[in-house]
């Protein structure tokens, strides 16, 4: 059988061997369904290149070009990068001079806070998960359940005590505070995910490593950890997306300097007295999408193995 490597396969998309490809009809149908899901994102990306008037026009202008006259002019807008520049710098009052909006700072904050807290949760959570999996305490399941309960309460319920605690401890508005909070929020998820990955590993391999002379720590780092890389990647991405999108805690617990993008975004579009600036909002959202998109894209191989882990018997 000839090995055909399509451009998709080179990009890392693979189909299972022994499975025949779907026909054109099915592919087209699947494409239509995915379009429905992807449409909101597509609209946002398109809108980010429109001026305010074009963004609000009815019927919607959805094509950036008239394709050599094929598309009626009513549906065509003239693409502009103005929204993207005004994300970072624009006049705050009509007729005023352009000034820095602080969004470069907010993007830095979002990236820093999300990645540090997710990585911290990953380190602590993985160690804890290994402990829960390999050295169970009496009433192990109870501990695991208690850990999970911290995620059962809606955020809005716990926010007031947390605000008070943060105020007393002087953590409001600091990086340390919000990072600690996000780490704590990611931990239950990380522990549960990673524990299930460790539970799946063959204990024989660890026994073998011990007989070969490795102590407990060495078994963990050299034998177990390399086997759960896929799980680490999956947990990292899920945690990152959750933290990246978090709004409520960020709104109430970050200060002007430590503000994250979702909070800054809500404030940027609300002001001005001239209604919602759709083009600007769409531009912020598009920029906001890019980092998680790339992380997910580069980890997709691991991600897929991570979420389907353990479904194949040895």
């Amino acid at each position: 059988m000839a090995e055909v490597t399509s451009i998709w396969e080179k990009l890392g998309f693979r189909k299972a061997s022994g499975v025949s490809e779907a026909g054109w009809g099915q592919t087209l149908f699947a494409g239509l369904i995915s379009l429905i899901y992807f449409l909101p994102v597509l609209l946002i990306i398109i809108t980010s290149f429109k001026l305010q008037t074009e963004a609000l026009s009815i019927p919607p202008k959805f094509m950036p070009t008239n394709l050599f006259g094929l598309i009626p002019d009513a549906y065509v807008f003239s693409p502009t990068l103005e929204n993207y520049t005004s994300v970072f710098s624009r006049a705050m009052t009509s007729g005023g001079v352009a000034e820095n909006t602080g969004f470069d700072r907010y993007f830095f904050n979002s990236i820093m806070i999300a990645s540090v807290s997710v990585l911290l949760a990953l380190v602590i959570g993985t160690l804890a998960a290994f402990g829960f999996s390999r050295y169970p305490l009496k009433g192990n399941d109870t501990y695991l359940f208690v850990i999970l309960t911290t995620r059962m309460l809606p955020a809005i319920v716990v926010i007031i005590p947390i605000i008070l605690m943060f105020r007393v401890a002087g953590l409001s508005g600091s990086y340390l505070g919000i990072i600690m909070l996000y780490t704590a929020f990611n931990l239950p998820f990380t522990i549960w995910m990673m524990k299930s990955f460790f539970d799946e590993l063959s204990l024989d391999v660890e026994d073998a490593a011990r007989l070969d002379g490795s102590s407990g720590l060495k078994v963990f780092f050299k034998i177990c950890l390399p086997q759960v890389l896929a799980g680490l990647a999956a947990t990292f991405v899920f945690g990152l997306i959750l933290t990246w999108n978090e709004f409520l805690f960020a709104l109430l617990l970050t200060g002007i300097d430590t503000r994250t993008v979702p909070v800054a975004m809500s404030q940027a579009v609300a002001g001005g007295g001239i209604g919602v600036l759709w083009g600007l909002l769409a531009a912020i959202e598009t920029l906001f999408l890019i980092p998680v998109f790339f992380v997910t894209f580069f980890l997709q191989d691991h991600l897929l193995r991570g979420v389907t882990f353990g479904t194949v018997k040895r």
């Binding site: 063959s202 024989d204 391999v205 026994d207 073998a208 490593a209 011990r210 007989l211 070969d212 002379g213 490795s214 102590s215 050299k222 034998i223 390399p226 086997q227 040895r314």
Partner: protein, 362 residues
């Protein structure tokens, strides 16, 4: 000195006793097989020696040193696992080298030793592959290579051949036996396959329900089973075990009756001194001679099912009393279904077991 000794080793899980008072000693250069059905405690016994299970009571002595409280990494024991337990993230070469990292030897020395065992086990061409990329037989050899690359106190094998197909199993059996004979270490092999045990072991320990039933050379356990269980477990086709009643005994000749037929068998004096007449007669399927006429020394039976096995034919016959008897006859002897057989058991291969199931021997 490479020796293993278990003294009254017992392992309990709550109320369940996985191994009870196991006494076993393995000399330098000796291969002992632990043989028994699933769940008989043989793997538990092996893991107790390795230190992967803490023993509840008794003693584990390896190389003259009491090992009860030492963790597995301090015992210097090499073990081959049933599912090989290769390190999936390391290449074959790194897998084999793994035990050497604790010996503080130079990188070149390490490489020399890995290459040497790789050559013995024909793994030279796959050293750079990951365990997932090599065949089942190669995985098995990697597991063996990882065990023999260093100079441990002893070797333990847990069902080493159970995952291989028949052909590979035969060739690996020979290879492992050869490798072990060159190393002269105390070795324990766990298996549920009696052929494997009979061919590889110097001595076999047969286990059932956590207890060692008999320890002996392959010849001993086959020719002189200590009890009904060992008799039925060793040997294919299985030994015929017939419950019978001892009705008379005179000068080494016992008259036993089972379900209506009396036959006279030659046996030892101790049979006459049994307190209970309820006995079990054990006769190997190959220990029968088919005679032309019925007499008081042969068993009357009718052939019911014929299974040709190649060189021999296995005949399932039914006695008058309704007992099934397995008889192996040479291929040349044609037996037809419904044919009457007069089967004379060979006295030397007829075992008498008392009411308690223990063999009655001089």
């Amino acid at each position: 000195m490479s020796t293993i000794e278990l003294k009254q080793a017992t392992k309990k899980y709550g109320d369940f006793v996985a191994a009870r008072d196991v006494d076993l000693s393995v000399k330098k250069g000796e291969v002992v097989c632990l043989l028994g059905p699933s769940g008989c405690g043989k793997t538990t016994t092996l893991r107790m020696i390795a230190g992967l299970e803490r023993i509840t009571s008794g003693e584990v002595i390896v190389a003259g040193q009491r090992m009860n409280d030492l963790p597995p990494e301090k015992r210097d024991i090499a073990m081959v696992f049933q599912f090989y337990a290769l390190y999936p993230a390391l290449t074959v070469g790194e897998n084999i080298a793994m035990p050497l990292h604790h010996e503080k030897i130079s990188a070149t020395e390490m490489k020399t030793r890995v290459d040497k065992v790789a050559e013995i086990l024909h793994l030279g061409s796959v050293l750079n592959r990951l365990p997932g990329q090599v065949s089942e037989g190669e995985k098995q050899r990697v597991a063996v290579a990882r065990a023999i690359v260093r100079d441990p106190n002893c070797f333990l094998f847990d069902e080493p051949l159970s995952r291989l197909d028949v052909e590979l199993r035969h060739s690996m059996r020979g290879q492992i036996k050869q490798v072990l004979s060159n190393l002269s270490k105390a070795t324990v092999i766990v298996t549920h396959d009696q052929l494997e045990a009979l061919t590889m072991a110097d001595r076999i320990a047969i286990m059932k329900d956590g207890i060692i039933e008999q320890v002996g050379t392959p010849h001993e356990v086959f020719a002189k089973p200590a009890n009904v269980f060992v008799g039925s477990f060793i040997g294919t086709p299985q030994m015929n075990l017939v419950e019978a009643k001892l009705s008379d005994f005179d000068k080494g000749k016992a008259v036993v009756s089972f379900n209506g037929q009396d036959i006279e068998i030659t046996t030892n004096e101790r049979v006459g001194k049994l307190s209970s007449p309820k006995i079990t007669i054990g006769i190997r399927p190959r220990a029968f001679t088919a005679e032309s006429k019925a007499n008081k020394e042969n068993i009357q039976a009718v052939a019911e099912l014929i299974e040709p096995m190649g060189a021999e034919t296995l005949v399932h016959a039914r006695t008058k009393g309704g007992n099934d008897i397995r008889v192996v006859v040479p291929r040349e002897k044609r037996v037809k279904v419904g044919e009457a057989l007069h089967l004379r058991p060979d006295a030397a291969q007829t075992h008498v077991f008392g009411e308690d199931g223990k063999a009655v021997r001089l």
